[in-house]
């Protein structure tokens, strides 16, 4: 049974807001609805709790869900920079767009963005033991997608974009782990240093299927072509792309 608490965040600073969220979880509340959010940073930072859902009505400030471990966070608006920063586990759904550095240094959990994101999406995402982070973007992204990526999966569905959903430079610059899947065509000159195209296999298609299903379920999307279209698979060309740049051996 849901046990809901509504918090009116109008004009509230993020520190008391986060305190109220923590107190509610301590009391056993499982669904927290934040009304009139506008620009409060750090919502849900370091929060623990596997059965907790936070619903954000309004534009949350930067670093939503940073270090978060377990909760599900649903945003009914656009998000600013770096939602999912260094997240540990749990899920963020954004019903809108997001700013730069989405899923920055994320090490576990999942971030789903319904529309497009800004620059440096998935920068330095990493995997750790059984943790395997995922960033799923419904629209397009800007330059330096998956920069310095070290682990996890980054999926770009490119809905509503007519050409390449990532039509800017530096895809996977410095990537040394993890993989990107981009629906549509990606011209070679957009790949960053250290990134290489790989074959898109049936096993890959099966791998991305559950993420697409989850995206479609949350955002109420029915587009079979998301499952049947070709994706460009990009991964590291070597485990140490800059080995010759900084080291003398």
């Amino acid at each position: 049974m849901k046990n809901t608490r509504i918090i009116d965040a109008k004009g509230m600073h993020y520190t008391p807001l986060n305190k109220e969220i923590r107190a509610a979880i301590k009391e056993g509340i499982t669904e927290i609805i934040l009304e009139n959010v506008n620009g409060q940073r750090f919502i849900g930072n370091g929060l623990r709790g596997d059965n907790v859902t936070i619903i954000v009505n309004g534009v949350p400030g930067g670093d939503l869900g940073m270090f978060m471990s377990g909760p599900t966070c649903i945003v009914h608006a656009n998000a600013e920079h770096a939602p999912g920063n260094t997240m540990d586990s749990g899920t963020i759904f954004i019903h809108g767009t997001a700013g730069d550095a989405v899923a920055h240094s994320m090490r576990g959990g999942e971030v789903y963005v319904r529309d497009s994101i800004g620059y440096r999406g998935g920068i330095h995402m990493k995997a750790y033991k059984d943790k395997y982070p995922a960033l799923v973007v419904g629209g397009g992204t800007r330059a330096f997608l998956g920069e310095y990526m070290a682990g996890g999966i980054l999926l770009v569905l490119g809905r509503g974009t007519d050409q390449c959903p990532v039509d800017e430079r530096g895809i996977g610059t410095g990537i040394h782990g993890g993989e990107l899947f981009i629906r549509g065509e990606v011209p070679d000159h957009l790949l960053g240093i250290g990134a290489a195209k790989k074959p898109f296999t049936e096993a890959d298609r099966e791998k991305i299927r559950p993420y697409i299903e989850k995206y479609c379920r949350e955002f109420n999307v029915d587009e079979p072509e998301l499952f049947s279209d070709e994706y460009v698979h990009i991964g590291p060309s070597s485990a140490r792309p800059f080995a010759g740049k900084y080291c003398w051996e």
């Binding site: 620009g39 700013g99 730069d100």
Partner: protein, 348 residues
């Protein structure tokens, strides 16, 4: 890290300063209380034909006498007044802000100098030779309010809600490379140009030397100053259209130019080579205004945020969408401009 926000009403309907104060305050996390400021176009309709020369005085004896001697030599002062300020508990009044409504005499220097040239000469003469006086704004019908403090404090110190205009710019500073002080707070103004900036111009040295070749002198101890002067040089003196001038400051990469069709490639190559010392490097998001409009631009690899929104006749530019939503809760359209591509809003 700094916070910026700007708005233009294309039909020139006046807005007072209360909303932008709230919007800037929302981004307090982007500043540290060592510099905030506001600029407004259309602030002085009764003196619209006069240059509003804003000065920070350390005292009202020697520096003021010396500045007024210069003003007298160079033209006439129609009206002058101490800029009204209102004591704030945490804001120390380190300077006394004064404004003069001034008309230069084009014959004053005995050269072919224009009115604008005389204002540039005046600003540099005062800022480099008169201790205790700093001219920080010289535009017609433009008011600039800045000090070392938080956005709300600086707004309340000047009571910006008492001023109205059709363009506002606001800035919340987090000084990193140079100290926080009144003169280093944004916005920076020169004649019709006003600039707010988040980031750093790492090409400052190159840009400064280039500007010095055209007679500009940097006196504010901060990199943003060069943006105002480069804009003045390229747009007022070299008469480049805004789109081209911004392209010169943040040009495409050479490998992108190599892939362009021949005509475009030739043009961009020429522009990069001609204005190579004007190119700005480093992370930046900037809003530049003049009396005809505002333009926002970021560095080519987008190391600072910029969000744009349109609501009716108004265009908003800001570091954060939430700040725009303080002023306009339901914009018609919100988007993130591409790196290096200016978003321009002009009056009708």
């Amino acid at each position: 890290m700094c916070g910026i926000i700007s708005v233009i009403d294309r039909k020139k309907n006046p807005m007072d300063g209360s909303a932008i104060k709230e919007a800037l305050s929302l981004m307090n996390e982007r500043g540290n209380g060592e510099g905030s400021g506001y600029a407004v176009y259309g602030a002085f309709p009764e003196f619209a034909e006069y240059y509003a020369v804003h000065v920070f005085y350390d005292n009202l004896i020697e520096p003021k006498t010396a500045v007024e001697e210069e003003l007298e030599k160079l033209g006439i002062v129609k009206h002058d007044e101490q800029i009204p300020t209102f004591e704030q508990p945490n804001l120390k009044k380190r300077h006394i802000p004064w404004r003069y409504f001034f008309k230069p005499n084009v014959m004053a220097l005995g050269t072919t100098a224009s009115e604008e040239d005389i204002l540039v000469y005046l600003m540099q003469k005062v800022n480099t030779t008169i201790p205790g006086a700093l001219i920080y704004s010289t535009g017609k019908n433009i008011a600039v309010f800045k000090a070392a403090g938080w956005p709300e404090e600086v707004a309340d110190f000047y009571r910006i809600q008492d001023y109205q205009g059709y363009i506002w710019l606001a800035h919340n500073r987090y000084p990193t490379n140079t100290a926080g002080w009144w003169g280093g707070a944004h916005p920076f103004n020169l004649l019709d140009w006003t600039v707010v900036h988040n980031g750093e111009i790492t090409s400052y040295g190159t840009n400064k030397r280039y500007l010095e070749g055209f007679g500009y002198v940097c006196t504010m101890h901060t990199d943003t100053e060069v943006v105002a002067y480069l804009t003045d040089l390229l747009q007022r003196q070299h008469k480049l259209p805004a789109e081209i001038a911004f392209k010169a400051l943040a040009p495409p990469f050479w490998d992108d130019i190599d892939r362009m069709p021949e005509k475009e490639r030739g043009f961009n190559t020429a522009l990069r080579m001609t204005y190579s010392p004007a190119m700005m490097n480093g992370p930046f998001a900037i809003v530049v205004a003049n009396s005809k409009g505002i333009a926002g631009i970021t560095d080519r690899i987008k190391l600072r945020p910029l969000v744009a929104a349109v609501a009716g006749d108004r265009l908003y530019l800001s570091s954060e969408e939430a700040a725009i939503r303080v002023m306009e809760p339901s914009p018609d359209r919100v988007w993130m401009p591409r790196a290096g591509e200016p978003v321009i809003g002009r009056t009708e």
